[in-house]
Symmetry: C2
Subunit: 345 residues, 2 copies
């Protein structure tokens, strides 16, 4: 593992810019460009007001597929609610990275999770841009509001799908249903901190279970992924959650972890940088154990799972494949790092 940059405060996500640069978020509310040589750029001006605290702060960031031309990015964060309250929710903003990499311009909040609640837990969130330009957002159920995940009148515990302007696309599954929020793509999720497109263009995501029961799901439009009615986990400290592990009308995960690994970050490796055997593998970071999980998936099932980085004990917050084909990780600590996974020699 090679350290690309150090001195990051709880970095949450890494995106890739032209010429070998990186764009990194730090949870306390800082975004900056890292030079190809690892030099940290200044904190970018132009961020919106951020309700940083607990699990909240500045979270995911992705570049637009056409970034080289439009310099557009999307990022999510915990957005404060009305002044004088502790309310907040996850929001997504669109912005243009200034040519000098010093500020965000034309910052526009395109989506705010509803409702805002007083909690600093379970914000999600990951942003995935689909080939058609629409965005998938994985949103947490805010912990205290887990029953909301089964209801369609809110954005808690949902995958939502929006256009780059924040509108609900015409073919979203609940767009015509009275009482349902039109942005919802799938529901019954808990707290997702990993999402990516598979090489075939399908959306994959994972979500934290309660105690045990972290899941990988492939969210299909309109489907119910079961939280908190079905789960392979239990309450913290023990005790059953919901009705069991399966129920008609609710989807089973492709994979689950008991005990929990606290997954964060997710990427398919499509390059040959690590040899042919790893190409096509799914990589998932673990906050809890500081391991990088490599999963071989075939026939709709995980055929093999391997834990990498046996000596690492830093919390892994994000995992992505760079345009150079290498895997990049960020580690979640007050002295966080951006790492490049070195191929076995």
């Amino acid at each position: 593992m090679a350290s690309v940059a150090t001195g990051l405060v709880n970095p949450w996500a890494v995106a890739f810019l032209p010429e070998g640069r990186f764009l990194v978020t730090e949870r306390p509310g800082r975004m900056r460009v890292i030079e190809a040589n690892g030099q940290l750029g200044p904190a970018l001006a132009g961020l919106p007001s951020i309700a940083a605290g607990g699990q909240g702060g500045l979270l995911d960031v992705v570049t637009d597929a056409d970034f080289a031309r439009n310099r557009r990015i999307f990022f999510c964060y915990s957005e404060p609610g009305a002044a004088g309250t502790s309310d907040n929710s996850t929001a997504v903003a669109r912005a243009t990275l200034a040519p000098d990499n010093r500020s965000l311009q034309d910052v526009k909040v395109i989506f705010s999770q509803k409702p805002k609640v007083a909690s600093n837990l379970h914000f999600g969130c990951r942003i995935v841009q689909a080939p058609d330009g629409n965005l998938f957002l994985a949103l947490g159920e805010r912990y205290h509001r887990k029953d909301d995940a089964q209801k369609l009148d809110n954005h808690h515990g949902k995958i939502v799908r929006i256009t780059a302007d924040g509108a609900a696309p015409a073919d979203n599954p609940f767009r015509e249903r009275a009482g349902a929020l039109p942005e919802i793509w799938s529901y019954g999720h808990r707290n997702a901190q990993g999402a990516t497109l598979a090489p075939d263009g399908k959306l994959w995501m994972h979500e934290h279970g309660p105690q045990g029961g972290d899941e990988i799901n492939l969210p299909q439009p309109g489907r119910n992924y079961g939280w908190p009615v079905i789960t392979y986990g239990e309450n913290y400290g023990g005790g059953k959650v919901g009705e069991g592990t399966a129920k008609a009308g609710m989807e089973q995960p492709l994979h689950y972890w008991v005990p929990s690994i606290a997954p964060s970050g997710m990427a398919f490796l499509t390059s040959d940088r690590y040899g042919a055997a790893w190409r096509g593998s799914l990589f998932v970071g673990s906050l809890k154990f500081g391991k990088l999980h490599r999963l071989e998936v075939a026939g709709g099932k995980v055929q093999r799972e391997e834990k990498l980085l046996p000596n690492n004990n830093e919390r892994i917050r994000d995992v992505r494949q760079g345009p150079d084909g290498f895997l990049y990780l960020v580690t979640d600590s007050p002295q966080g790092r951006l790492l490049r996974l070195a191929p076995a020699s």
Copy 2:
């Protein structure tokens, strides 16, 4: 000691707002309002681009004397230089805190320390507003540029004095001297992280010495405070700095510390909150030993020095008296706190 707020990331300064609220800077580049009950507000929108790293970041903040009417604040930070370089210097910005305490408006950089250099050390800085509305700024010598502290063609190792618009007041001492920067008030300073007005309106400041030799000075216009020609300290690891401890034309400190305490933050206590014996004492925080120093000063000398908080080992970054007469401290760590010093019971 009572903890007013926790969960601050390397807080650097605390200022006081109406209705018991606080305004706090965090070095990584975050400013926020803390409610009277200790609840942390969101990260304020509107900060400029900040070269955070090493000792740099978002540093001091003060409210205007007329804040209740104009909601104006002044803050200093490490300002990035030209894109593609590591250059930076300390800058001061003026801004208006929005009525909802969520953002800074009308942000204007009124002063940038010259020249910018590639270093992440010795930025200073503290801001003191004098009764006439002018601002004193204590500026570091950027460590690698210590000889600059003796030259008047730069702002390294200087106290500068500017108007609220950043102009050099007409009565600044070097305004008419060719080749001298007109903002300079005094020179020959090293790295100041504490400055305040005494009850009689005089400017007091302290500065870090090298190894040993931290000083308290009362900067008079046009005077030379000796760094790096005279000092009571020595080079890190040993070895003489400069010519000795005294020289004609250079001022002696009011007080010095050998070994160093790494002072940060400075306030005179004018209230009776801690009994009559402490009223009028000068309080100085120590980064190195986590102690709060109480100094009794009379006849231009420190008559007595007492170290408080024997059991504290958190680095003390700022010390101020609040409008309620209590002393407030912030502690410098990734889990920093805002503390109120409790009177002895």
